[in-house]
């Protein structure tokens, strides 16, 4: 890549500090609003910024519309996870989960609706919450993180109903099996555990690192990402990204990707994954790499699908997580890749654009595509 020598801009103390802060910003979590037109992103400074997808993806999008429309301080620590219900945005990070009303956020009145803290055993450190998972059938929320437990919270009453023990190290990720009320969790201890929500019992444990095919000791045992589709489960992290058949607890496909993956998801008959490295990978179930979509960031922590049919003009939203700081004052709008999407293997252009806010509450580049294919995704 060509290295443009930017002009030496005279910078004062404040500007330097802001530039440094921007450089070291990490987006940990993102979530598309229920209407599909807005994207919330949470960073390591505890701020949540709201971007308007419809404005940023429209044909006459200006630089201004790619900056956050609202930014507010949500948590003291990083915002590790966010989910959306019909009306609420739930965010969690430093041990607390907070609820925000989407309607109010969009009106720029950003006051938390409620906040809850799972019952922790007292410790020197407040354990973080790494993952949130909505269980729509029970109208409950599952939280998991630093204290190695899964907490179930009733969204109606706001009380914590259950705690599931089993992990020996902190939990990275959660996934829900839609048909049977079962939850999968993957953690730092290298195990994926399957929990039955009705009985609150551990049903199955897969210790991924113990399988030679996928074990990679130099990367560690941790399971960083997890996704499930009925009988199938894909997980990755320290060990290689692997597709498992749950009933038989056997790895069926090992995807040839050296870098540890931080996010994985099923998309139609494809698997999308992202992690260390600049690309979002598209895999066929057989383990073939179908495509790689490069992004601007050196590492990705999260992918997000916008599957809202109500907003066809912004079907795909994906934001990236870690790493690369935005470049102050410049927007990279190059058309980067051809991404094959959908069963007809239609190739489709993906426009990569960095949304960037040069003020203090700046946020990370968000890769956006505007397409009219039924559903699409991408991660950067």
């Amino acid at each position: 890549m060509e290295r443009a020598m930017p002009q030496a801009v005279p910078l004062g103390q404040m500007e330097v500090f802001q530039a440094l802060q921007r450089l070291h910003m990490i987006i940990f979590s993102q979530n598309v609003s229920p209407c599909g037109k807005f994207l919330a992103a949470g960073n390591n400074y505890g701020q949540i910024a709201i971007f308007s997808l419809s404005a940023a993806l429209s044909s006459e999008a200006k630089e201004e519309s790619k900056k956050p429309m609202v930014t507010f301080q949500a948590h003291d620590g990083p915002v590790y996870s966010m989910v959306s219900t019909d009306r609420h945005l739930l965010s969690a990070g430093d041990g607390e989960v907070k609820a925000w009303l989407w309607a109010e956020i969009l009106k720029k009145g950003c006051k938390e609706l409620w906040r809850r803290q799972p019952p922790y055993r007292t410790s020197l450190e407040v354990p973080e919450i790494n993952a949130l998972l909505l269980v729509p059938k029970e109208n409950s929320l599952i939280l998991a993180g630093g204290d190695c437990q899964l907490h179930t919270m009733d969204l109606e009453t706001g009380t914590f109903t259950r705690a599931l023990w089993g992990h020996t190290d902190y939990i990275h990720c959660l996934a829900l099996r839609e048909r049977s009320p079962e939850v999968l969790s993957g953690g730092e201890d290298g195990a994926v555990r399957l929990w039955d929500l009705r009985t609150a019992k551990e049903v199955q444990t897969i210790e991924v690192y113990k399988h030679e095919e996928c074990s990679r000791p130099h990367n560690g045992r941790w399971i960083g990402c997890l996704a499930t589709d009925s009988d199938w489960m894909v997980c990755g992290g320290g060990p290689a990204l692997t597709l498992w058949h749950l009933r038989s607890s056997t790895p069926t496909t090992i995807f040839p990707m050296r870098a540890p993956q931080k996010h994985v998801t099923f998309y139609q008959d494809l698997i999308l994954s992202a992690g260390q490295g600049r690309c979002v990978n598209q895999w066929q179930l057989s383990g073939e790499l179908k495509a790689q979509v490069p992004g601007s960031s050196p590492g990705l922590l999260s992918l997000s699908l916008n599957q809202q049919p109500a907003a066809p003009e912004c079907k795909v939203g994906s934001a990236r997580g870690s790493g690369d700081p935005g470049r102050p004052g410049c927007v990279d709008r190059s058309v980067t890749t051809l991404l094959p999407l959908g069963p007809d293997s239609r190739r489709q252009q993906l426009q990569g654009g960095c949304l960037y806010q040069s003020g203090l509450p700046s946020f990370l580049p968000v890769l956006l595509t505007s397409s009219n294919t039924p559903t699409s995704i991408s991660g950067v």
Binding site: R3, G12, F28, P298, P328
Partner: protein
């Protein structure tokens, strides 16, 4: 004859007429017979009434005689003539009487006239007398009215009021019993009192006058004394000069400086006045001096118009003769450039003394034709400094004051008008001349009261005291901070070059007692080299690597792990922190691009630098950042998960106390050090 005879006879007849008359006549006859006959006297004696009777009788007689004569004549007869004769005689007598009576009447008339005249004269005299008297009366009346109308002077005198008079005047003057009833006496008494008082006041006045005289004389004497003092003082001053010099008390010198200051160009004058004032009011360590030749400055000041004319003349001339004199064009341009960049012969020297006895010498120049000010800086320290190689640029006159205010690198002229002047003589930028002329920093212009608008060029820029004053304090403080931070850096560099991170005792609490990683290298690198490094891209692209910054490369080692740190040192250190970019060589190359923990380490030193500032004014920041980097490397290496498949013990056994090894989706290591418990946790 007959008349004479009748005359003689007449008195006789008269005598014979009347007995009394006869008697008197007889007597007067006898009396007058000796002297003269005086009918006048006869008149007095005769009664006019009887004379009138006599006259009437005589006349009747005559009439009768006449009638008888007539009668006798008419009858004519012989006897008649006798008769007639008789009658004639009788008539003659009567005539005689008549004559007499006539004379008497005349005399009487005359006498009456005389008497009347006499009486008239008398009346006249009386009248005259009357007139005199009347006049006299009138005069007297006038005199009286004059007197009555006379205004006394005393009425004009403002007398004290009655009550006051009776209250204050002594009884021998007021004499109340006499004067109460008599306004005249009263007035007199009041006048007396007035007089008395006036006399007293006059006395006082005289006294005062004499007093004044005396005082005037005293003043005169004192004046004389004072005027005699001046030359004596002068001589004392003259005599004390060597003492002043000996004791370093430059009173006289200061005086001379003010004299010299009058020849300074306005911006330098403003600077001089303001810095002197600031030095006296706020900062005793500031010393100001003027250097250069006053005579030259004077000479410069005298014919300003001439020189301008010359210039324009020569311009025109040159245009005409350019073609002919082409070979000398280069030389001419050179001369013109020199002329344009000419400095005013006087300059202002400013010495800023810092607490540790190091001194910042600033020399301010004024470029007359460009209307800008420049400064040259030099730092001297109390003790001889061993200059580390990497500290070469720190105190160099070229860079020590760079970016005192953000962006003020002092390589461009602050006066927009200059660009046009440069174009004329073919100067591309002032940058090439800065070493020679000094740096035209913006703050220097502001100290000199020169304000240049950014937008349009303005040719008349007036030196303004208030502008200078408003920038004086901040600038002086910045200058001091700059020198101190540079000296602090200088000292730190000296240690750093020898691989010692000089953590001071008051910053010791920021770090654990045992730090295994060691700094092994600290070198300065060029700006271009920095931008060429593969792991500094972000900083360069963020515009944080301007060419006014200083660049260094540090190498921290522990065992086989080598951590390279490229450091950007902003001239605004320590308010603007040094920025570190890391590259770890251990089991492959790790940078912020492929390792989140390296990125976290960078943000620990770059973003969380405020924790590392230490005591104000935080000059130890760089040292602390480097030490922190060593600690971070320790943590990084010790918490690295052990690869079970590799035989043998871990290269870096975990010695640090950590609550958890990893946290969060990005699997951060516990980089935060908690004092005083001494464990590491996640931020």
């Amino acid at each position: 004859m007959s008349s004479e005879s009748s005359k003689k006879r007449k008195p006789k007849v008269i005598r014979s007429d009347g007995a009394p008359a006869e008697g008197k006549r007889n007597r007067s006859d006898t009396e007058q017979e000796g002297k003269y006959y005086s009918e006048e006297a006869e008149v007095d004696l005769r009664d006019p009434g009887r004379d009138y009777e006599l006259y009437k009788y005589t006349c009747q007689e005559l009439q009768r005689l006449m009638a008888e004569i007539q009668d006798l004549k008419s009858r004519g007869g012989k006897d008649a003539a006798v008769e007639i004769e008789d009658r004639r005689i009788q008539s003659c007598v009567h005539f005689m009487t008549l004559k007499k009576l006539n004379r008497l009447a005349h005399i009487r008339l005359k006498k009456g006239r005389d008497q009347t005249h006499e009486a008239k004269q008398k009346v006249d005299a009386y009248h005259l007398q009357l007139q005199n008297l009347l006049y006299e009366v009138m005069h007297l009346q006038k005199e009286i009215t004059k007197c009555l109308e006379f205004k006394s002077k005393h009425e004009e005198i403002d007398l004290v009021s009655l009550e006051e008079f009776y209250k204050e005047a002594p009884p021998d003057i007021s004499k109340a019993e006499v004067t109460m009833g008599d306004p005249h006496q009263q007035t007199l008494a009041r006048l007396d009192w007035e007089l008395e008082q006036r006399k007293r006041l006059a006395e006082k006045y005289r006294e005062c006058l004499s007093n004044k005289e005396k005082i005037l004389k005293e003043i005169e004497v004192k004046k004389e004394y004072l005027s005699s003092l001046q030359p004596r003082l002068n001589s004392i001053m003259q005599a004390s000069l060597p003492v002043q010099e000996y004791l370093f008390m430059p009173f006289d010198q200061a005086h001379k400086q003010y004299e010299t200051a009058r020849h300074l160009p306005p911006p330098l004058y403003v600077l001089f006045v303001q810095t002197t004032a600031y030095g006296q009011a706020c900062d005793k360590t500031l010393s100001v001096a003027i250097e250069g030749s006053v005579d030259e400055a004077k000479a410069l000041f005298k014919p300003p118009e001439d020189s301008q004319d010359d210039e324009s003349d020569s311009d025109a001339e040159e245009e005409q003769t350019t073609k002919r004199r082409r070979p000398t064009l280069g030389v001419q341009l050179d001369d013109k450039r020199k002329e344009m960049l000419k400095r005013h012969p006087l300059s202002v020297m400013l010495d800023l003394k810092c607490k540790d006895d190091s001194v910042l010498h600033l020399t301010f120049y004024y470029l007359m034709n460009l209307n800008i000010m420049t400064v040259k800086a030099k730092v001297t320290t109390a003790t001889e400094l061993i200059t580390p190689i990497s500290a070469g640029d720190l105190l160099s006159p070229d860079s020590v004051l760079s970016c005192l205010y953000p962006g003020d690198h002092g390589k461009k002229t602050p006066n927009p008008a200059n660009q046009y002047q440069f174009d004329k003589v073919g100067i591309l930028t002032l940058r090439d001349y800065v070493l020679d002329l000094g740096h035209p920093y913006l703050w220097v212009q502001k100290l000199g009261g020169l304000h240049f608008p950014k937008e349009q060029p303005q040719h008349t820029v007036i030196a303004d005291h208030s502008l200078s004053a408003s920038h004086m304090e901040t600038t002086m403080k910045l200058l001091k901070t700059r020198v101190q931070s540079r000296l602090a850096l200088h000292k730190q560099f000296a240690s750093l070059e020898h691989g010692i991170v000089p953590v001071t005792s008051d910053c010791q609490y920021l770090f654990p007692a045992k730090v295994v990683s060691r700094l092994v290298k600290w070198v300065t690198i060029a700006h271009e080299d920095y931008t060429e490094l593969h792991f500094t891209k972000d900083i360069v692209e963020a515009g944080l690597a301007g060419d006014t910054n200083l660049y260094y490369m540090a190498l921290v080692e522990r065992g086989t792990a080598k951590l390279q740190a490229a450091v950007v040192l902003n001239p605004g250190y320590s308010s603007i922190p040094p920025i570190f970019q890391l590259c770890l060589n251990w089991k492959g190359e790790k940078t912020n691009n492929n390792d989140d923990n390296i990125r976290a380490m960078e943000s620990e030193v770059n973003v969380c630098y405020k924790e590392l500032c230490g005591p104000q004014p935080s000059h130890q920041l760089l040292t602390n950042q480097l030490q922190r980097l060593c600690v971070l490397l320790d943590v990084y290496l010790e918490t690295e998960s052990h690869d079970d498949s590799v035989e043998g013990p871990k290269e870096f056994p975990q010695e640090k106390m950590c609550l958890r090894l990893f946290r969060g989706p990005s699997r951060m290591k516990p980089f935060k050090y908690n004092h005083p418990q001494g464990f590491f946790s996640h931020r």
